[in-house]
């Protein structure tokens, strides 16, 4: 049977995705594979302490490299580059790897043919073992590109692992935002679980990620976290969920004990236990 893929997202950062993902897996009703898809701020490993099974380089798009000896400093590459990734200030072309998107336009115009596209490592991904099952996780190099590609890769590996181990659930800790890594994290997921907070920003961002989920065919549901920080805000989230057909699975108050557990790199499982059981029941019925 195909495992159920649940991706935790939020739009807005810092609503509690990672803490909730960890609490959810500690009470999962079936064997679960964990997947870290917030690859440029990967924090799930801090709570789950995976024991490393294997480590693999992540090669992103190939990027341009100039052979400085043959470069005559004509600047043609700089003029065609639309990403301002070529610096001519030294008199010769130098590619700034932080900005090169790998299109290869520069290689097409170089009269010296001295620009080549080279393999570029953009990060690392891992297999790990946790107390709650296998985990696929990744780290993008700081400032790296192609985070969407890396998200696709860890999700693919998580699906393969689920197939091999017969796991019934894949639980993915997703990135904030709505752009390429978020698109890669929700596409093909059975459920996108949106964690929000009772703020104006939380509501605004929840509606944007919900729209994204609808567009990319993932069924969205909502958890309202830190619900008691604003009663007025909480009511607005409830209304927005009703108006947009988003099931609100739980409202969790702001619990200092959760903050303290996370501060000790510990899963806030006991602290959240009474909320997590009902969430799983509803999730498995969606």
């Amino acid at each position: 049977m195909k495992p159920k893929e649940i991706t935790i997202v939020s739009g807005k950062g810092g609503t509690g995705k990672t803490s909730l993902t960890a609490a959810l897996v500690s009470f999962a009703p079936q064997r679960t594979v964990l997947c870290e898809a917030d690859v440029d701020a990967p924090d799930l490993e801090i709570l789950l302490h995976p024991v490393k099974v294997s480590e693999h380089p992540f090669m992103g798009m190939r990027t341009a490299a100039v052979d400085a000896e043959r470069c005559i400093g004509c600047g043609k590459c700089e003029s065609v580059c639309r990403f301002e990734a070529i610096d001519m200030s030294s008199g010769k072309a130098v590619v700034d790897k932080t900005f090169c998107e790998g299109c290869s336009a520069c290689t097409l115009v170089c009269p010296q043919e001295c620009i080549l596209m080279e393999d570029t490592r953009q990060g690392t991904w891992f297999f790990g073992q946790t107390d709650f099952g296998p985990m696929v996780h990744a780290r993008l190099n700081p400032g790296g590109e192609n985070s969407g590609m890396l998200v696709q890769l860890v999700r693919k590996e998580a699906r393969l692992t689920a197939k091999k181990t017969g796991a019934g659930i894949i639980l993915t800790d997703g990135p904030p935002g709505i752009a390429c890594p978020a698109i890669s994290a929700v596409t093909g997921a059975d459920i996108a679980l949106i964690v929000t907070e009772p703020t104006m920003s939380g509501r605004h961002d929840m509606l944007r990620i919900a729209e994204l989920c609808e567009r990319f065919g993932a069924k969205a549901a909502v958890i309202l976290n830190k619900a008691d920080l604003s009663n007025e805000g909480a009511v607005k989230i409830e209304e927005a969920c009703r108006e947009n057909g988003l099931p609100l699975l739980a409202s969790i108050p702001f619990l200092l004990d959760v903050v303290h557990a996370v501060a000790q790199a510990r899963i806030p499982s006991e602290e959240l236990k009474s909320y997590i059981g009902p969430i799983w029941e509803k999730l498995m019925k969606l």
């Binding site: 807005k12 950062g13 440029d40 701020a41 700081p142 904030p176 709505i178 703020t199 501060a263």
Partner: protein, 284 residues
């Protein structure tokens, strides 16, 4: 007064540490600043400042158009595109999809000169005004994968005003964050002293070091967590500019849409000192 306008970028690594609170608080505290919301996936700065949009312009990226009278379906463009952004099925003409980065390579390689470009809207810049403040708000259209051109356009538009500027950056440590801080004179990294905050700050500090930017750290909710942010800062020679305690009343007022510095003297003082250090470190 400053000799030239300064741009201060507020970034974080981890989301939800209080970037937008710091950016909004700088704007309501330091006179004469304008704002740019470069967190274009989730722009929240105007919401927090009660600024309303009064004008909007589209941000477009180049998108190829294939002249079907000239195209002989040779497939060179499809082969040259490194983003898989041109599809050709069977006898069809090549057609661009959402993966297009607008690099122009397809038109460069077309032997029939059959490819020109049009603009494809991927987002907008809204000019927002309220409470005496002007904000350039970048918004990525939902469903578009690449926020970077919208970030660049938003920061450029705000910088063209030649005023002192606060840039509210996206979370994370990948290309959107890099794009948002690229033009800044100073980067303020907002963190919290939790293991998550420290781990993500470490990544953000590596990015800032690679970009060779001056930076300072603001520790928000400084009394919650106990992770050692100071020694992390020392390791990168980045000073801690302010420590702000957790306050339920600040969290509640944020939830209602009020920036902390509008009600809390400690925040106000911290914002003034961040701005003064920025002026000093930039030699103004």
């Amino acid at each position: 007064m400053s000799d030239r306008p300064l741009a201060i970028a507020v970034a974080s690594g981890k989301g939800g540490t209080g970037k937008t609170c710091v950016a909004a608080s700088l704007l309501v505290t330091v006179p004469g600043l304008i704002g740019a919301d470069a967190d274009v996936e989730e722009p929240n700065l105007s919401i927090l400042l009660g600024a309303e949009p009064y004008e909007s312009s589209l941000v477009e990226t180049p998108l190829p158009i294939i002249d079907q009278d000239r195209c002989d379906r040779c497939g060179e463009c499809v082969k040259a595109c490194r983003f898989g952004a041109l599809n050709m099925f069977g006898d069809s003409f090549p057609a661009p999809n959402d993966l297009c980065h607008g690099c122009g390579v397809c038109s460069m390689v077309c032997p029939k000169n059959a490819i020109t470009e049009t603009g494809k809207p991927i987002g907008e810049i809204r000019l927002c005004r309220g409470n005496g403040l002007n904000i350039f708000e970048g918004r990525l259209h939902v469903g578009m994968p690449n926020p970077v051109p919208v970030i660049h356009a938003t920061v450029e538009a705000a910088m063209a005003e030649k005023r002192n500027l606060v840039i509210d950056c996206p979370p994370g440590t990948s290309c959107p964050m890099v794009a948002a801080v690229r033009r800044a004179d100073m980067v303020v990294l907002v963190t919290e002293p939790t293991p998550f905050g420290a781990a993500d700050l470490d990544l953000a500090l590596q990015v800032i070091r690679n970009l060779n930017k001056p930076a300072m750290i603001v520790i928000n909710r400084a009394d919650l967590g106990g992770a050692d942010i100071d020694s992390l800062g020392r390791r990168y020679s980045v000073p801690v500019a302010a420590r702000l305690p957790f306050s339920r009343s600040i969290a509640e007022s944020y939830a209602r849409g009020n920036p902390p510095a509008s009600m809390d003297p400690q925040w106000k003082e911290a914002m003034l000192s961040i701005w003064e250090s920025t002026e000093r470190m930039s030699g103004n």
